[in-house]
């Protein structure tokens, strides 16, 4: 944009709107105020410029220590305009149903296949003869083996069969494969897979699984069974870690309402109420302490379960401990201090005195009013309320506002009129209430 990069010098106090020269700052301000009301913001900034004292950045005032302290700590940051809005979680869109539809259609195939294999596996391991030849017969009875006479190469690794590379069969699908391509499924594990309720075979330490104690399977069948086993494992695995963790969480769930209750009881004591006594609140405090100890103990236990350092599992256990320690420190150990018996006494005494005073004042007021009523009751009963009202501050206030309204009307400031009228109405209502209460 071609700026008329001016440097033209403007002298004097020109009105920014009509460019009249007003000779002085104050004249300009008043001119502005009366003639250009719509430019309120400009006016405001003019006033600011004229009105404010110079303030510099390096503030050397020695403000009272205590005051600064309080001011710095008081959290007045939540300005009004943010509180106006109750914010709810933003827009979300779920595509879970679509995913499940696609996945379901696809997995159905696998599921039928896995089921077929499981039925076969069940038949295989149930009553399996130990004698090798009988076992072979049993296996072929359950799953017929493919005729391999025309197969020259292992279908999996494509190496030729010969004297050293002999043909074998997968016990679950009956397909042909070489020894190198075979995988062996531990028969004990196989039993566990088909009957998860059966007692788990004691894990033999690192025993190699061979033809003897295992089932020869092709990779495909092995994977399907392995997957099935994993799903079962996850379902059944309730490890020590899980148990300890759940216990810890349950203690935390108990601690939360306990702390809230404690705060409530404590506040009640400080307010001088008699709902709870010190012993109650102390007992509550003790209970929270117990819960904190329990959480502390369990989380320490979790942190020391044996794992290899640096693994995810180790990091998990550390994090749980860290979170628990933080929770104990922030939520359970930072409880408010209880008042002493003496403090409580003092608060209650003050509260009682306050109430006393209030009752006394009320009584005096009522009596005064009755006296007045009686005084006035003589000559002019009908005008009782009007005479004693001349000095009522509410009336005075109302008159002032009426004056404002008149002025605002004259200047056609109707928005102002509306606000003032509303105020006047409020005052009238208040005044009538006052009259009613003084009558009774």
């Amino acid at each position: 944009m071609a700026a008329t990069n001016d440097e033209e010098i403007l002298e004097g106090f020109l009105c920014p709107i009509c460019k009249a020269d007003l000779k002085s700052a104050s004249q300009l301000t008043s001119h502005f105020e009366s003639l250009h009301q719509e430019e309120q913001d400009v006016l405001k900034s003019l006033k600011e410029i004229f009105g404010k004292a110079k303030k510099i950045i390096l503030n050397n005032d020695d403000t009272d220590l205590k005051e600064t302290f309080d001011r710095a700590l008081k959290f007045s940051y939540q300005e009004s305009y943010y509180l106006n809005e109750e914010q709810t979680v933003g827009v979300c869109r779920s595509t879970t149903d679509y995913l499940k539809a696609v996945r379901g259609a696809r997995l159905e195939r696998y599921a039928t296949e896995t089921n077929k294999l499981l039925i076969r596996l069940d038949k295989l391991v149930c009553n399996m003869p130990t004698e090798p030849n009988q076992r072979k017969l049993h296996e072929q009875e359950v799953v017929p083996w493919l005729d391999g006479s025309s197969v020259k190469l292992c279908p999996n690794c494509a190496k030729a069969f010969n004297l050293t590379r002999r043909k074998h069969h997968c016990r679950l699908c009956g397909s042909i494969l070489c020894h190198d391509c075979s995988l062996f499924l531990d028969i004990d594990i196989a039993r566990a897979v088909v009957d998860p309720s059966a007692p788990h075979a004691s894990n033999q330490p690192e025993q190699e699984i061979t033809e003897k104690n295992g089932l020869r399977l092709c990779e495909h069948c092995f994977n399907l069974i392995e997957l099935r086993k994993q799903v079962q494992d996850t379902r059944n695995a309730k490890t020590v870690l899980m148990t300890a963790y759940e216990q810890m969480r349950s203690l935390m769930d108990q601690a939360r309402p306990a702390v809230a209750m404690y705060e409530k009881m404590c506040q009640s004591l400080f307010d001088g109420e008699t709902t709870y006594n010190l012993t109650d609140v102390n007992a509550m405090r003790g209970r929270i302490g117990k819960l904190a100890e329990g959480i502390d103990l369990l989380s320490k236990q979790i942190a020391t379960f044996p794992t290899d350092p640096g693994t995810r599992q180790a990091r998990l256990q550390n994090s749980i401990r860290q979170a628990a320690a933080h929770y104990i420190k922030e939520d359970l150990l930072s409880l408010r201090k209880l008042p002493t018996e003496a403090q409580i006494e003092e608060v209650r005494r003050q509260r009682y005195e306050r109430a006393e005073r209030q009752i006394k004042m009320e009584r005096e007021r009522m009596e005064k009013q009755r006296d007045r009523m009686e005084e006035l009751a003589g000559p002019s009963v009908s005008r009782v309320n009007n005479d004693d009202d001349d000095d009522n501050p509410l009336l005075e206030q109302m008159n002032i506002i009426r004056g404002y309204i008149k002025e605002a009307r004259k200047e056609l400031k109707f928005e102002e009129v509306a606000i003032l009228e509303a105020n006047l109405k409020e005052l009238k209502k208040e005044y009538q209430l006052q009259k009613l209460s003084s009558k009774s």
């Binding site: 305009y81 827009v91 997995l107």
Partner: protein, 571 residues
């Protein structure tokens, strides 16, 4: 319209939907930043999220089936394939997947096909797709969004998606307006409009049309219209820290300081997690120093009466007596370190003097005086080369068309004081980037009678604070918009003006292509407080300080031939 709250609500929702149990959150680089802007690690730990993993890390497979996995990713094709790999060999028991933006059906299908173990429980789009810097400030952390004056396509897409997400996250419809003179603004406005159209059903279903209040407005403007604001030294806490120490995702590195305590090598400055910071981020530097000193004195006084804090019992006791201490002591020490460094910078580099001249050049009009003082400062060895270049840049912009413009001699002066060629080139780049030819607004108030007079008054009556005279151009733009006076020919509405023009909007989103600044964030904060009912959220491709702004300008001017500075022959 609190953007921090919006992101927090999404993340809380994610941690809650998966139910009780040990959780891990699996994220990418971007979503890690998004989350870390609004939650501290200890806050997330309290939500039973114990592990933070990156989808692109190549750590070894572990069986962690006892954990629930919350996946939070941007919907990029790279992330989809990484997630497929994860689902094929799942480490965790179940997966709750959240994408930070719209994801295609094809991608869901790909995921479904990989989920042979049926570990996925949820797939959702949540729209936490921006960095929530403050409650009214967001950024995409894109440095150098333009290349050769036009969008890097990848960045354009990122911004459009992010703005769509912003609107959805605070549940607002919006008409899109943009700076007419800026090509990049027009491109972004179009892209946002297209995305809004594509998601019309989602918007209609979730954000009911409210005829009672004026439609919120999204205003897209160009940094090139105000290249001055990012150049000025700052005196409010947040802005000053960013200018002198650089804030990156709410983190400030102090590792370069000698003798810095190991806890403060990197400090987190977040108004959500740090009350002192929240309270003081807009305070000026002097006030903060004072507050801090008082706090320290107070604490030391108290600490003296309770020296013995060794056992847990002692600690408990101490904390019971001074719950405030527990809250504040850590943060106060941190701020003491930061403020100490700022203060050292100010003295070391004559920043008060530099700032005073910057403000005067930006806000007043006195060529010969400014030139003289500028020359003096250039010969002052304590002034950093960076500040020297900044000052010359400001001068170049302010007096670009002045009859006695002395830019060549100032450049000579920069050369003489040993300023790098790179930095000198920045001055020229700046002029090409944001000179008079590139601006549609009256940045220096040279044409507007009101502004001219205002400036005159300032000169006559003195100013409130010589270091904070400047108000960003954004203030005028926003006030015009609030009053329904922002001109339709300069800031047209996408799809034509449907009567929205002239209606005073209450909810406003303003996005600066080329980056926003903390000074502008402060300005928006003040407007929000001044105009009741008005809520403005400011965003930028990034949040600049002067250093990053020079980089931005450099990227934007890459490969562009000099057309407006050819007469300056000594560069």
């Amino acid at each position: 319209m609190n953007v921090i709250q919006a992101v927090k609500l999404y993340i809380t929702k994610m941690t809650e939907e998966s139910g009780p149990g040990m959780k891990v959150i699996l994220m990418d680089k971007d979503t890690t930043s998004i989350v870390s802007m609004v939650f501290s690690q200890s806050e997330i730990l309290q939500k039973e999220v114990y592990l933070f993993e990156r989808i692109d890390s190549h750590s070894k497979w572990d069986n962690m089936k006892h954990m629930k996995c919350i996946v939070f990713l941007r919907p990029t094709s790279e992330n989809i394939s990484l997630l497929c790999r994860e689902l094929r060999y799942p480490k965790y028991g179940v997966y709750f997947i959240y994408f930070s933006n719209v994801i295609s059906k094809a991608d869901i299908k790909t995921l479904a096909e990989c989920d042979e173990q049926e570990t996925v429980r949820e797939v959702q789009e949540v729209f936490a797709d921006y960095l929530a810097v403050d409650r009214h400030l967001f950024s995409f952390n894109i440095a150098g969004c333009l290349h050769g004056r036009s969008w890097n396509q990848h960045h354009l897409q990122r911004c459009a998606q992010g703005i769509l997400a912003l609107l959805l996250s605070v549940k607002r419809r919006a008409v899109v307006r943009y700076e007419a003179a800026s090509e990049p603004c027009a491109r972004l406005a179009e892209r946002v409009r297209d995305l809004l159209r594509r998601e019309a059903v989602l918007i209609d279903n979730n954000i009911p049309f409210n005829g009672e209040i004026p439609t919120p407005q999204l205003l897209i403007i160009d940094r090139r219209d105000d290249p001055v604001t990012p150049l000025l030294s700052q005196w409010t806490y947040q802005a000053m820290v960013h200018e002198l120490l650089t804030i990156n995702n709410n983190r400030v590195s102090l590792a370069h300081l000698p003798e810095v305590h190991k806890d403060f090598k990197e400090v987190v400055l977040s108004s959500e997690q740090d009350e002192f910071y929240a309270k003081n981020l807009y305070s000026n530097f002097g006030e903060i120093g004072q507050t801090m000193k008082s706090l320290m004195d107070e604490f030391q006084k108290k600490a003296k009466s309770h020296q013995k804090v060794e056992s847990i019992a002692d600690m408990k006791h101490f904390v019971e007596q001074y719950p405030l201490f527990k809250k504040m002591s850590g943060t106060v020490t941190k701020h003491v370190t930061v403020v100490g460094e700022l203060s050292a910078c100010v003295t070391r580099h004559n920043l008060l003097e530099v700032s005073e001249l910057e403000q005067e050049i930006a806000c007043q009009s006195d060529h010969s005086k400014h030139l003289q003082r500028l020359k003096n400062l250039l010969s002052n060895a304590a002034v950093r080369h960076h500040d020297a270049a900044k000052l010359v840049g400001l001068y170049a912009l302010r007096y670009e068309k002045h009859a006695s413009n002395a830019l060549p001699s100032l450049i000579e002066a920069l050369k003489n004081r040993g300023v790098s060629e790179q930095l000198i080139k920045s001055v020229i780049n700046l002029l090409e980037y944001g000179g008079a030819h590139a601006r549609q607004s009256d940045l220096f108030g040279l044409q507007d009678a009101v502004k001219i007079t205002k400036r005159l008054f300032k000169g006559l009556n003195g100013v409130e604070n010589i270091y904070t005279q400047h108000t960003p151009l954004l203030k005028d733009t926003l006030e015009d918009l609030i009053k329904g006076k922002l001109r339709e020919n300069l800031y047209p509405t996408m799809g034509g003006d449907d009567g929205a023009y002239g209606r005073r909007p209450q909810d406003i989103f303003v996005f600066i292509v080329g980056g926003a600044t903390y000074e502008e964030a402060l300005c928006v904060h003040q407007i929000n407080q001044t105009y009741s009912g008005v809520r403005i959220v400011l965003g930028g491709t990034t949040v600049h300080n002067s250093t990053s702004f020079f980089e931005e300008v450099k990227a934007a001017m890459q490969g562009v031939h000099r057309t407006h500075t050819r007469h300056i022959r000594n560069v």
